[in-house]
């Protein structure tokens, strides 16, 4: 033992090269050691859900800063770093992610860009939302302005996913989740988009309330009457196939023109759309040339009425007949009077008008049917050109019912037409109402078609 102490007192010279070695070792190993420990720490934290993770090594000491989404996650992460082999000391700079109150998340659809903003509860949710937005808005720039916060409402992810889907139906707009309140505003890309979005929002997770203010492109129906080509063109939208058929049928009764039907079915029509269109078509049928545009709740009618009183009636009656909330704009002028014609031409003109169509009455009554008002206006205009002729207005019925009733009915119907003409400004003494009942059929009364032909009013011009 004594020898050992004697020898050890002579070990000191080796300390000098040892010190040099130490210096060299410190010089060459510090940076690789720090890199190795940083890497191993990162590996240890691979499965931890953290935000803003930063790891730096000084010697064997690790400075670890991160935002955790729960206290347990935070302490687990710190423990993971402490157990990394070689780590001497951990400078714990971790914190909990801030809590958002209220928790707000938004998606905004702009021109050529979609921006996701507000807060997301977890990085994985944030990535899922971004992926969903990229899938929905293919080819559009997605801007991520989301930060990570605690305090998301329950089933936030499902609600946000739904809103990403619905925002893709907007041309521009914004959807916001604020705690359990969802706000959606903007302009739908397509007609019916507003209704489709409103229906989809019913699938939001339980507990969420919705306030949506979605505008849709105007719901437009248009009818153009062109007397030169003899065509009535219908364009725009109707709510469904049944209303489509009803409107076309109604137009067929009101107009003598060929109907070109370019209507398409789409959701999004304002309430009472079909009734308004049917009523406005009646006014259009009284015009010589005209255009009807129904855009949302605005009705625009323009064109030329056939005579003065017709113009006044159209301008006055259409706004009155529309439901509340509908706006009317009429720009109806009076067609210049056509040149007078002699009685022969006059008869020819009446014949042309009544060849394809007949004046319709309410069933079993002498009340003029409103669908015939366009035809009556045309007959009135022709009568105005026949300034010298006297005209017999002759009523006929089919053979159904009592002969004396039919006789009286035909007389009253002829009188109703005369009254219409007189009211339009024609002198009463030029028109003679005559009724023939069912005595002068022009077709067999054994079919509905034949009966319909026999129920007629003839205009016979006398010199």
């Amino acid at each position: 033992m004594r020898g050992f102490f004697r020898w050890s007192s002579k070990w000191w010279p080796g300390v000098i090269p040892l010190t040099v070695l130490w210096g060299l070792a410190a010089w060459t190993t510090t940076a690789p050691l720090e890199a190795d420990l940083s890497e191993q720490t990162a590996v240890a934290l691979k499965d931890s859900v953290l935000d803003k993770t930063a790891i730096s090594a000084a010697g064997r000491d690790i400075t670890f800063s991160a935002d955790a989404f729960s206290e347990q996650e935070r302490s687990n992460a710190v423990a993971s770093v402490e157990t990394v082999p070689g780590v001497r000391r951990v400078n714990d700079r971790t914190a909990l992610v801030a809590e958002a109150k209220p928790f707000v998340w938004s998606i905004e659809r702009g021109v050529g860009r979609v921006t996701l903003g507000g807060s997301a509860p977890l990085p994985v949710v944030r990535n899922k939302l971004l992926d969903a937005a990229r899938a929905r808005f293919a080819g559009i720039d997605i801007a991520d302005r989301m930060d990570l916060k605690r305090g998301a409402p329950p089933r936030f992810e499902a609600a946000a996913m739904l809103l990403i889907g619905e925002t893709s139906k907007l041309k521009s707009g914004k959807a916001t989740i604020s705690d359990l309140t969802v706000n959606l505003s903007g302009m739908a890309r397509e007609l019916g988009g507003r209704e489709a979005i409103a229906a989809a929002l019913k699938n939001l997770p339980e507990g969420y309330s919705v306030a949506d203010d979605i505008q849709a492109p105007p719901y437009v129906f248009e009818a153009n009457k062109d007397p030169v080509s003899g065509v009535l063109t219908l364009t725009g939208y109707v709510p469904d196939n049944a209303i489509h058929a009803a409107i076309v049928a109604s137009a067929g009764r009101k107009f003598g023109e060929k109907i070109v039907d370019k209507l398409k079915a789409s959701l999004g029509a304002p309430a009472g759309f079909d009734a308004v269109v049917t009523r406005a078509l009646r006014s259009l049928s009284r015009l010589s040339t005209g255009r009807l545009v129904v855009s949302d709740r605005n009705v625009e009618l323009s064109g030329d009425a056939l005579y003065d009183l017709a113009g006044k009636q159209i301008r006055a009656d259409l706004p009155k007949d529309l439901p509340r909330g509908w706006e009317t704009k009429t720009d109806v002028s009076i067609k210049p009077s056509a040149s007078p014609v002699d009685p022969t031409v006059c008869q020819q003109l009446f014949g042309e008008l009544l060849e394809k169509r007949t004046i319709q009455f309410e069933a079993g009554q002498a009340t003029l049917h409103l669908d015939s008002i366009g035809l009556l206006d045309q007959l009135t205009e022709t009568a105005l050109r026949c300034q010298t002729a006297t005209v017999e207005i002759v009523g006929h019925t089919d053979s159904d019912g009592d002969a004396s009733f039919n006789q009286a009915l035909s007389e009253r119907r002829a009188q109703a037409v005369v009254d219409f003409l007189v009211k339009a400004g024609l002198p009463a003494n030029r028109f003679t109402p005559i009724g023939h009942g069912s005595a002068q059929p022009i077709a067999a009364n054994d079919t509905d078609e034949g009966k319909a032909k026999n129920r007629r009013i003839d205009f016979i011009v006398r010199q």
Binding site: W11, G14, W22, R60, R89
Partner: protein
């Protein structure tokens, strides 16, 4: 410590060899050793450094360098001890065989 040994084994082997060499030489070295007072001071200083290292008092890179230095020094001292013990064994055997030869000659 295991991590340090694994990471720095080359430097530790060199320290060990240096210690073995120094220990080997020290047995037959005729120069003056450190006095016992100095040795005590050095031991106290070493103990203090060990305490600092164990308590993790020195931060960052300096702490790492301290650990590294102490580990290298420990291995060196271990090498010295083994080297001296081996050389002492060799010297003792040589001395024993020398005295046997001497006694044989006198016979």
């Amino acid at each position: 410590m295991v991590y340090l040994a694994g990471f720095h084994w080359v430097w530790l082997v060199i320290s060990l060899l240096l210690g073995l060499a120094m220990g080997w030489i020290a047995v037959v070295h005729r120069g003056r050793g450190v006095s016992s007072l100095t040795a005590r001071w050095l031991a106290a200083m070493l103990l203090a450094l060990i305490v600092l290292a164990v308590m993790h008092v020195v931060p960052g890179r300096f702490g790492y360098w301290l650990d590294l230095g102490l580990v290298m020094l420990g291995v060196y001292l271990g090498g010295c001890a083994v080297g001296s013990w081996l050389r002492d064994g060799v010297v003792s055997r040589q001395a024993a065989s020398g005295s046997t030869e001497h006694s044989n000659g006198t016979l």
